[in-house]
Symmetry: C2
Subunit: 218 residues, 2 copies
Amino acid sequence: MHPEPSRKRLPRKVREQQMLDAAVQVFSARGFHATSMDEIAERAQVSKPLLYLYLGSKEETFSACIAREADRLVDSIGSAARSPADEPGERLMQGLTAFFGYVAANRDSWVVLYQQARSQSGAVAEQLARARAEIVDTVTELVRQSMELDQAREGGSGYAALRREAAAIAHALVGAADALADWALTVPGEQPEATARRLMNLIWIGLERRGKGEGYGS
Amino acid sequence: MHPEPSRKRLPRKVREQQMLDAAVQVFSARGFHATSMDEIAERAQVSKPLLYLYLGSKEETFSACIAREADRLVDSIGSAARSPADEPGERLMQGLTAFFGYVAANRDSWVVLYQQARSQSGAVAEQLARARAEIVDTVTELVRQSMELDQAREGGSGYAALRREAAAIAHALVGAADALADWALTVPGEQPEATARRLMNLIWIGLERRGKGEGYGS
DNA sequence: ACTCCTTCTTACTCCGGAGTAAGTTTACTT
DNA sequence: AAGTAAACTTACTCCGGAGTAAGAAGGAGT
């Protein structure tokens, strides 16, 4: 009757990945607290004690999800931004394209990282904050290069201000990318590369000119 | 010993506001699920059944918080953006300043709206989505005016594309503002007006030129 | 074909916290 | 000062779901 493949036994590493896959899906759909370990176990085709044996507590399970997904995302962006191109603008464009591509291809992962993990507190929050900071740092560096910060006088009072400005811009840029990623998911046919270009179009000119002190109302 | 003011009885409307104040604080600090009704009751100096009598269930309490805080925020931004100035740029600047000012003056409210409510699902999520959409719509209108969309041919294939571009920019702008608000909270001495100007400096030139089709790599 | 380790399950315990039944006290009104 | 409606409390019930004790069954090596 049932062609049930008679649950095969699998090595621990493989099962763990299956569990994490299931956990990401459920956490993504329900959120941390509304998720029950029973549901994760069910979706992973495994009993609850095995889940606890391999992944520890519920919080540790969530933490493991965040760690794995954040690594994937950071790697994806980082390696794109370290691409052959010289100009910071081109590297920024590559990083953004990689980011929007990742989100489009891994919705669940994105939702868990962006919507669920942010509201968490404790160790998980710090974990995510660190991943985000890594991305922001990468962007900050590109922003500083674009702003031609090297032209700024060293040690001058304007130097610290420009450093702060670069940090602010990087945060704004990452936030804009987050929001655009959500937006792109609601627009059928929107390509990652196109989304990245929209953002570049919006900020690129302003970015180059900021290094020279030009801007709104000047 | 204790100059305990001997718990005065208060009219319902007043108590309700006290309860909502307490609820916002606790939800902000702990998040929805980690918050217990007992703790809200304690902080509001009230017994739990009274809390249930006035505000209904836990979910309804949270919903009431979101409704009140979202209204305040949307009003604050909306009335600033409807300021006397004619130019869309100036109105955008006013709206942003009001927004950063609100966040600086109402951290708890902001945290509840931005970090806690987003991860929620169901009625609350829709509520928040509606408030956010209202802000995005306001911004979209300003963006379209800045882009000199009126110069676009009506009905042309480029028209729909420009509308979409305006929506994308508005989403990016709101997301950037969100992230900058968080950033500003971590930087001592950062003034709302200064934060608003940073963002305007970054996007204003690009915004004006987008209407003419100029941008990154062109 | 017997060990022995790893994989895996059934069947529980236990508690935090949502929600409530029933009653008590204060302050207006006539 | 008596009546009454609103404000308010003590002291519970009850359940979902986190976490676990105890053991079963498959497979690799000898």
